[in-house]
Symmetry: C2
Subunit: 482 residues, 2 copies
């Protein structure tokens, strides 16, 4: 690979080109042969596995069981919930032929599984004793995309979708908000992204939901990325699929209240855009496929036996300490190439070991976040790495939090709104009218309401656009979004 | 649930009905709304997760990286390898419409991923330094089934498919056989199934492979279940997808040698049929979702506070000892129901704790494998459970091994062949002619060659059917199969 092939476009120059350069050159993904599809390469998939493992643990801790439902949904099922089919119809992929014949009823490749899971819930739930029913599945889903973007919007993506049924609204809402909290926690504690949780306005709700909650991440270009959602469906799907239970007191038949919630490979896009810089990716240590890369200094493609031995020993010590380490001993590329390559691929710590370092009993440790490098004694180095990684993880969250807070501005005038949303988000009053939301989007660089934040003082005022009385009892967040 | 709904058909009465009863009543699966699809319920999915985790660990240990490739494959890709498309064409599901429009080129829902992965490999491989390329993916695949059977043959199933590219035949064959060994090990050490590894005869090869290897499990009705396969493709797919590398010595372009290997949710069917008995499932402890079920003895739907406290303490101790335990405190069903239910669901150990047991400082421990129950002191009970589970695991493997060996018979005459294959497998000589294989299948209860076993003495003789000189240099295995 020639040097110019390695350089990525600067963020400041063109954020979108930077993103495309980074995802491809860091070997996170490749384009699939069918338009809008992506191949998740080992480096990207390992990141996904680490995120998955953290999230799956929390999903199980909170009492949910994993299951798997068929990907093919009879077309008629989609049509049973009117808003749901209306929302998803333009994005569906349809199987019309199978086993060499035309099918009697076309099959939809799941865009989401409320309908098929609703059908099964109605079979499985009879009594209040069967509730709550707390299910989750890890699956691929398909939504046809006209303007695909790796990780952010692809025709097929991977996700988890939780689906639960409850006896009443209280219990279902408790679940909806609990899973929103789990997403906040995963984003914060694993991805080092200080997302803002809140409720979506009516115009931004999931098709078929009564209430939709979201976590919104601030990307380094000031745009928002919806990174996980949790929905309260009321009895909409229960009525469409006849999900009923005999209640404890009267034994009468009641409709269940259902929820659904999902986080997807889109979250990888969030990690890339919330932390990356002109040099490329910057991965939070807890999710980095390689937390440390060790580079033996070579001459003519070979390291000295002493260097090789020291590198092997360090690798073994790191492995024993639970650190994900990798040795880059490629003979065919230069040390400078390796330094740039791992910097671009976002590895938190890089350790170079050369003959002169060894004589002094040290190794050179480079920090991706600070850009600094220092010589540290080899003795005890491996043992000190976990704390260094924890420090980087905490510093990345602090950096992202500071960036987020610097880029959310409380505004009361339309001019100020336009100004701040060109680089960040506006915290402002809104009348709550869908027509006014549309007007704002059309009169700005496609600025939309991101959420009614869960936090935020009780306040009222005048709508930033139309001047009418504010809704929601507090200021809400607006921004450009992916 | 009424008592008669719980009883399962006896194996001896009708093995097939027994199987259907067990998979549904044990809540491993449910039928999906589209014919031939299955819903994997939490109890079945947990079993799959445990198997997956064991296999994924071995796949990674042996140097493979997980990745994810798109599910939609352009129809033209399938056609590039002639045998491959011929083999799969009758089973394909086809997406013809998406995003509200008819597609220019129909998309195939992957039945397996050699083609799309081959296309990507050709992009990623340039030099001998890129080899071997060792990839695996966990995914759903679709093969339209006319006679579907839960876990064994479903329209959609879950699996892992490994795909690797190598510089030469030697390295590719080493890989093919290494992964066959991994499957043998997983079947033996986790599923307690003493599978027989071997090579498939030409007529049973994977579409597009030069050599196909299999592990064959002996089910309790004497039929065989192919439970995992590993294929050496030669350069067939490399030529179809232009997977080439510059070799180390001359720098000339060479075709890669590729392999693929897969194990699927079918393996759950193997576990069910290799171990179950008239009472239902019998799960190997290492893969049992619940290794121990604790049943507090209740009166009028309530346990005494002492019993509840003892059960809670035992549960906590088991959890701390790394045992997957579950407390069945359902007030609405009887103790007898619970005993039968967990027996049917195959839980290795059942522990009942009642007031009289407590007075004596004991609990009643029931063993699913032996059917025995004994009173054991509560003090130290939890600590002794892991060893008891290991013992059951070993005994299940020993039982299955004895059953397998009792039901494989060395035969030299056609009459003996017919007799032994009505209840088990025949170890015999065959001429190696596909026409003779077909003749055997047609003249028997659909008996087919299962494999040319890896083990087995060098021997020659006359074909059991046509009398011609034997092929393969050893006896091979024949049996009825799923």
């Amino acid at each position: 690979m020639a040097k110019d092939e390695r350089a990525v476009t600067a963020q400041s120059e063109n954020f979108s080109d930077w993103y495309n350069d980074v995802v491809l050159r860091a070997q996170l993904v490749d384009r699939g042969p069918v338009k809008g599809t992506m191949v998740i390469r080992p480096y990207g998939y390992r990141l996904w596995e680490l995120l998955q493992s953290a999230l799956d643990g929390r999903i199980k801790d909170t009492g949910h069981d994993n299951a798997y439902f068929p990907m093919f949904i009879p077309e008629s099922y989609l049509k049973r919930e009117a808003e749901h089919v209306e929302g998803f119809a333009p994005e569906l992929a349809v199987v019309t032929h199978a086993g060499g014949k035309e099918l009697e009823e076309p099959l939809i490749v799941r865009p989401t599984s409320e309908t098929i899971i609703g059908e099964m819930m109605s079979k499985w739930i009879a009594s209040h004793r069967d509730l709550p029913l707390l299910l989750n599945q890890w699956a691929n889903v398909v939504r046809w995309e006209l303007r695909p973007r790796m990780f952010l919007r692809t025709t097929e993506f991977l996700w988890q979708e939780g689906h639960t049924a409850h006896a009443d609204e209280d219990d279902a809402m408790r679940e909806t908000l609990q899973m929103l909290d789990v997403y906040v926690e995963i984003a914060r504690d694993w991805a080092a992204i200080p997302v803002v949780p809140g409720e979506k306005t009516a115009g931004e709700r999931f098709a078929g939901a009564l209430r939709t909650f979201t976590i919104e991440g601030m990307m380094r270009d000031g745009k928002a990325l919806q990174s996980g959602t949790s929905h309260y469906m009321g009895t909409n799907f229960a009525k469409a699929f006849d999900i009923k239970y005999a209640d404890a007191s009267s034994g009468g038949q009641q409709y269940c209240h259902t929820t659904s919630w999902g986080m997807s490979t889109r979250m990888i896009g969030a990690i890339i855009m919330a932390h990356g810089d002109d040099k490329g990716l910057m991965l939070p240590p807890k999710l980095a496929p390689y937390q440390v890369v060790i580079i033996p200094v070579m001459r003519k493609g070979e390291a000295t036996p002493e260097v090789t031995a020291a590198v092997d020993a360090l690798f073994a010590e790191l492995k024993a300490a639970g650190v994900r380490a990798h040795v880059d001993d490629r003979p065919q590329v230069s040390q400078g190439f390796k330094f740039n390559d791992w910097e671009m691929r976002g590895v938190p710590l890089r350790i170079a070991v050369g003959p002169r370092d060894l004589e002094a009993g040290v190794a050179e440790v480079g920090n991706r976040l600070t850009g600094e490098k220092e010589s540290l004694p080899l003795a005890g180095l491996a043992a000190s790495i976990p704390a260094m990684l924890d420090g980087i993880q905490a510093d990345m969250l602090a950096r992202a939090t500071a960036f987020r807070d610097e880029n959310i501005h409380t505004v009361d005038s339309w001019d100020a709104f336009l100004e701040v949303t060109s680089t960040g988000w506006a915290r402002t009053f809104h009348c709550g009218q869908p027509a006014c939301e549309k007007d704002i989007k059309a009169s700005s660089a496609a600025v939309t309401p991101r959420c009614i934040p869960t936090d935020g003082e009780a306040e009222t005022g005048s709508c930033v656009k139309c001047g009418a009385e504010s809704a929601y009892g507090k200021r809400i967040l607006f921004g450009r979004a992916y």
